[in-house]
């Protein structure tokens, strides 16, 4: 499946935040959305998911305009992984993951054994089956993020849209989540994720959109977009980007911000 954003203008009501944005992501690809606070990442994101009305342009899934799609149909194609948060009620993890089945159930039905099996498979595939009967509000932030990914997988979408999947996570959990992002892309999901860390674009290789102030943006492969000049223009700070040789002979590209 292919998600295309064509010449999109988005914003709140009639107030345009971003305009003329174009990008695309195919099954098995990762698209990272980078940019400073307040530049319109979230706005673009919410428009992509249909939370905000499109002001101009088109959002296409395999060439079809999604504007006329019902919530249910859209949810069958695009899964959303929000930032880990605490809901008001202490649901069990399996109950949370099962909510991913809504899009596939009739108006008055609730999950059956078959749905429970799909939810269990999602937990299994992320290696978090041990969380199944725990209380969602009592597990750690990293675990909650994984459960939300499992819920989105249970939805069986083709594209996964992730809102800062590593925010509020510790160093180790960030990498664990990114590892899963890469694995999911290998399994054929198209992934769109926002992040505050340019390094994530190197660790989850694919295309990058770097939003800069005043409605400018750079779009392309990670190596072309995440450069010292572009980052300086976007964030107003100096950075150094270097390849670090690993003992095995491979190199990993990394971005280091300079304070002085």
């Amino acid at each position: 499946m292919k998600l295309e954003i064509k010449n999109v203008s988005c914003g709140y009501g009639s107030k345009v935040v971003l305009s003329g944005v174009s990008m695309e992501v195919n099954s098995g690809e990762i698209l990272s959305l980078l940019g400073p606070n307040g530049v319109g990442k979230t706005t673009l994101f919410k428009t992509m998911l249909g939370f905000l009305k499109l002001i101009d342009g088109e959002i296409l899934l395999d060439g079809q305009d999604v504007r006329s799609w019902s919530r249910k149909k859209l949810a069958g194609a695009i899964g959303y992984v929000p930032q880990a948060h605490t809901p008001p009620f202490p649901f069990s993890v399996i109950d949370v993951v099962l909510m991913g089945r809504v899009a596939h159930l009739g108006a008055l039905s609730s999950p059956s054994g078959k749905d429970v099996k799909i939810a269990d498979e999602s937990l299994d595939s992320l290696g978090i089956s041990y969380l199944r009967d725990r209380i969602y509000t009592e597990i750690s932030g990293g675990e909650r993020q994984m459960v939300l990914i499992a819920r989105a997988l249970t939805q069986k979408p083709d594209i996964l849209v992730m809102d800062e999947p590593t925010s509020n996570l510790d160093f180790g959990n960030q990498i664990k989540v990114l590892k899963q992002v890469n694995r999911l892309a290998e399994r054929g999901l198209g992934i769109v994720m926002t992040t505050h860390f340019p390094n994530h674009a190197f660790q989850c290789p694919g295309k990058v959109v770097l939003l800069q102030r005043n409605n400018r943006f750079v779009y392309g492969e990670a190596d072309e977009v995440v450069t010292e000049n572009h980052l300086r223009a976007a964030y107003g700070i100096d950075v150094v980007i270097k390849d670090i040789m690993l003992p095995g002979g491979n190199a990993v590209r990394s971005c280091v911000p300079l304070i002085n």
């Binding site: 019902s70 249910k72 809504v102 199944r132 990293g142």
Partner: protein, 362 residues
């Protein structure tokens, strides 16, 4: 790291899965069975207690005789008490308690907040004003009931439309709640105004007594049917979509992304819950606390999943109000208003929940 360590036991967990699923559904069934048994026990107690104490055996005898047309070998006054006063009143208590508990549970999910009670959008203060006005104009029992019902619904509709105007078509939960507070305050002051105008000999006590809640008023069969229809119309749709209330409690955007048309589902939930509350209040007057604490008690027993929470809330809500009404009508020579008792029992219970310190359940 926590993650890694736990990963080791993962495989054995996988093997346990089908069993744990089956045992949890057995547990759910047994919770409902126990609660239903408790409810039946409370009903049996309720039939016997009161100013006329009627032994359970005599009640069975009369019911049996009535059903199969036996010649009355019992006192007619006892029959009248049972069939025309006590049993209708019991049915009313069951319906009102269940309705308030269900609408409270539904509202708590909709507003993503366990501190919400069913009157948050103004239904009780609207109903209170409707009833006060009807008493002021000397309407009969049915008139008071209809006025309370109509004004209760009207207050919520007003809240809904004003919040839609404020939110320019896109009514957010926050705007809805704030508008509800304004409408509630307005109707509460209208009620005060009618009380101020009412004659202090007859009407003022009537209004005050109505506002404190009671099931003693009319106990005719017609009354019960007037209550039964809106309670069924309100609770059946809620019951059918109850699993989706779980998803709604995760917030509007997440629910949408999971494939729910939140606008229409929210309208349905508000409509049904309002119908339930308005019809309950219109026969019972103001009965506080039930819509707030019964869902908490149900969550404590059955967990937060609405699949179980709604039936559990109905059973506990019905049993609770019936028990409270038993106390109201038999503890003293005069009837005690219901809202006094529900608060007297509800407030300490709520404190107990807080003291338990189980943040997760509250």
């Amino acid at each position: 790291m926590e993650y890694v360590k736990k990963g080791v036991i993962e495989s054995s967990d996988v093997l346990l899965k089908p069993d744990s699923y089956r045992s949890s559904s057995r547990k759910k069934a047994s919770i409902l069975t126990v609660l239903a048994a408790v409810l039946i026990a409370v009903i049996c107690i309720s039939v016997t207690v009161g100013r006329y104490s009627v032994p359970l055996s005599e009640m069975m005898h009369i019911l049996w005789g009535k059903l199969f047309g036996a010649t009355p070998a019992w006192s007619l006054s006892v029959e009248t008490v049972l069939l025309h006063v006590r049993i209708p009143r019991i049915i009313k208590a069951l319906l009102v308690g269940g309705a308030l508990a269900v609408s409270g549970a539904a509202y708590q999910g909709l507003f993503k907040n366990p501190m919400v009670s069913p009157d948050i959008l103004g239904v009780s203060s609207g109903a209170g004003f409707g009833a006060s006005l009807a008493i002021l104009f000397s309407f009969g029992t049915i008139g008071i009931q209809l006025a309370a019902f109509g004004f209760g619904l009207g207050a919520v509709i007003l809240t809904f439309f004003i919040s839609a105007i404020i939110g320019r078509g896109k009514s957010s939960i926050l705007v809805l709640v704030l508008t509800g507070m304004v409408i509630s305050t307005l109707f509460a002051s209208f009620t005060s105004m009618t009380k101020y105008l009412a004659d202090t000999e007859n009407k003022l006590p009537d209004i005050t007594y109505w506002l404190m809640g009671s099931l003693a008023r009319s106990t005719s069969l017609k009354d019960i049917i007037i209550l039964l229809v809106p309670v069924l119309v309100g609770s059946i749709p809620l019951f059918l979509i109850r699993w989706k209330l779980n998803v709604l409690s995760f917030g509007e955007e997440e629910a949408q992304a999971l494939g729910i048309n939140t606008t229409s589902l929210r309208l349905l939930v508000i409509g049904c819950a309002t119908l339930l509350t308005a019809s309950a209040i219109s026969v019972s007057g103001m009965v506080g606390w039930i819509g707030l604490i019964i869902p908490h008690a149900a969550r404590l027993i059955a967990g937060p999943n609405y699949k179980m929470l709604l039936p559990t809330s109905i059973l506990i809500g019905s049993a609770f109000l019936l028990l409270v009404d038993d106390i109201a009508r038999s503890a003293f020579a005069v009837e005690i208003p219901l809202s006094i008792l529900t608060s007297l029992i509800g407030a300490p219970f709520f404190l107990y929940l807080l003291l338990q310190g189980r943040k997760a359940w509250i």
